[in-house]
């Protein structure tokens, strides 16, 4: 499972994963389209955030789910950089508590979805 680690997993590998495989990852993973509408939201992330995936999928990610990432440090980067693979230390508000995390931002012009991986 080394190739599925937080640092090593590729965007195409994430795209190829089934729902069950995505859910089994030890870190949070979510995928959204160019319109920021959430299409994939794995079980690990649902557990961390306390949100039911069914209420998150279909919702604009930065406007309604993760406003804390709606700034030039995260959201703007997906707008500015079509090709993106970077790990940034970040502070999230999981269940409203400031929580130090690492984010991995993934985008590729050839892929239908962008991904954000969240490691607590």
């Amino acid at each position: 499972m080394k190739e599925a680690s937080f640092e090593a997993v590729t965007l195409s590998a994430l795209e190829a994963m089934s729902v069950e495989e995505l859910d089994a990852l030890p870190y949070g993973a979510l995928g959204f389209g160019p319109d920021t509408i959430v299409q994939r939201y794995n079980a690990t992330e649902a557990r961390m955030s306390g949100l039911d995936p069914s209420t998150v999928v279909g919702v604009p990610f930065f406007d309604a789910v993760a406003q804390c990432m709606n700034n030039f440090m995260v959201a703007q980067r997906f707008v500015d950089e079509p090709q993106l693979d970077e790990i940034v230390p970040y502070l999230l508000t999981l269940r409203m508590r400031p929580t130090k995390v690492r984010l991995r931002l993934l985008a590729d012009p050839g892929m239908p979805r962008h991904y954000i991986l969240i490691e607590r």
């Binding site: 306390g50 209420t55 993760a66 406003q67 709606n70 030039f72 999230l92 409203m96 508590r97």
Partner: protein, 429 residues
Amino acid sequence: MTEKSSEEQLLEFLYACPVGLIECDLAGDIGLMNPHAMQHLLPLAGPRDASNLFAAFEQHAPELRSLAATYTPATGKICDGHRIFVDLGRGRRTQAPTVLACTIVKLGPDRLMVTLSDISHQVVQEERLRQADTWFATLLDGVNAYASLALTSDGQIASAGACFTHQTGHDNAAVVGRHLADILANDGTGGDLQLNEQLEIAGRDGWHLQEGWQNRADGERYWCQRLVVARSDGDGLEPTGYSVVLREVPRREAAAEDMRRLLTCDHLTGASNRRHFANVMEREHAHWRELRQSLSLIVLDLDHFKAVNDTYGHPAGDALLCKVVTACAGLLPPRGIFARLGGEEFGALLPRHDQDQALALAEQMREAIAALHINTQHGALTATASLGIATLDEAGGSIDTLIKLADERLYAAKNAGRNQVYRPQACAA
């Protein structure tokens, strides 16, 4: 489908709430906050601690800490819609908010509830409304009390009414074809915009209004509102000419002066605030582009200030900050300004100062600070500062580079042992 639990509903509500909500203790340590609050806090905090409210705002609103500390009632509103001007740099200006409103309520002996919201658009609208108000007042109050002129696109007077003669003492027929800026020339020592600068802004925004001293032909000064409106024929974006309205008005009274001070000064020390500093920097930058007179920046940071607060307490630290401002502001040249840029960080902008002059002034400031002495109940408090300077010429005319260069030199002064001014030639030697 199962019914959502109430906890899930509450979480969804808090995740989606478009207002920042924060709960913290009196020291600012955040216990709970929603994502919207973090969206604003994180970019402001930079390398500082974003999980402490006061640390995160140290740079942009250092007054929050003292507002909370000096609030004595057990419960109640510490501030309501307190405006925080944020400037995250040029590249980020378009997306990022520029004004946040902050309300702090004290809920108990060690519990604060804070809300944050972005009111940038509201502030822009207020500004427009205020300008529009003054504009209409200018036109409606006493039809004879204003002088109107038409200018060509390069500032030449195309026509001037009889009122112009009456108000300024210059013959309205004789001034046609001359540059208005030459006729209305003032000494340029105040913070007022020059006419050419006003034309530039009016060309960009449609209009610009300012109040300031104006000279009549016989040299008498009077207080005057000067409105510049850009005219265009509709096709091109470039203005084809300008209309200028001059209106003699009573000098603004104490209340307006208070409001101005509130908007431009740091709450604690009375130094210029960050926002005013940024505005003046933009204005002087425009001067530099046109006139190429030197412009220097000093950045100054008190050494080991955190230890001062920890050892002598925040009130002593605050007193020190005030003394630093008094000492340094007294050394400024006529058009220079001294501003508090963050907690213990200050900046001095020095128009018409080259590198040598700025270095000499920085050295004077360093000496003045090292000579400060405050008696506290924990003994005598003294301080030192590290300083960096840079000139706009060195920075190739970029304000961002100017700030970066001065900052780097400030840190070089820190690394070289503090209590000193970093000397660029020392590293070249």
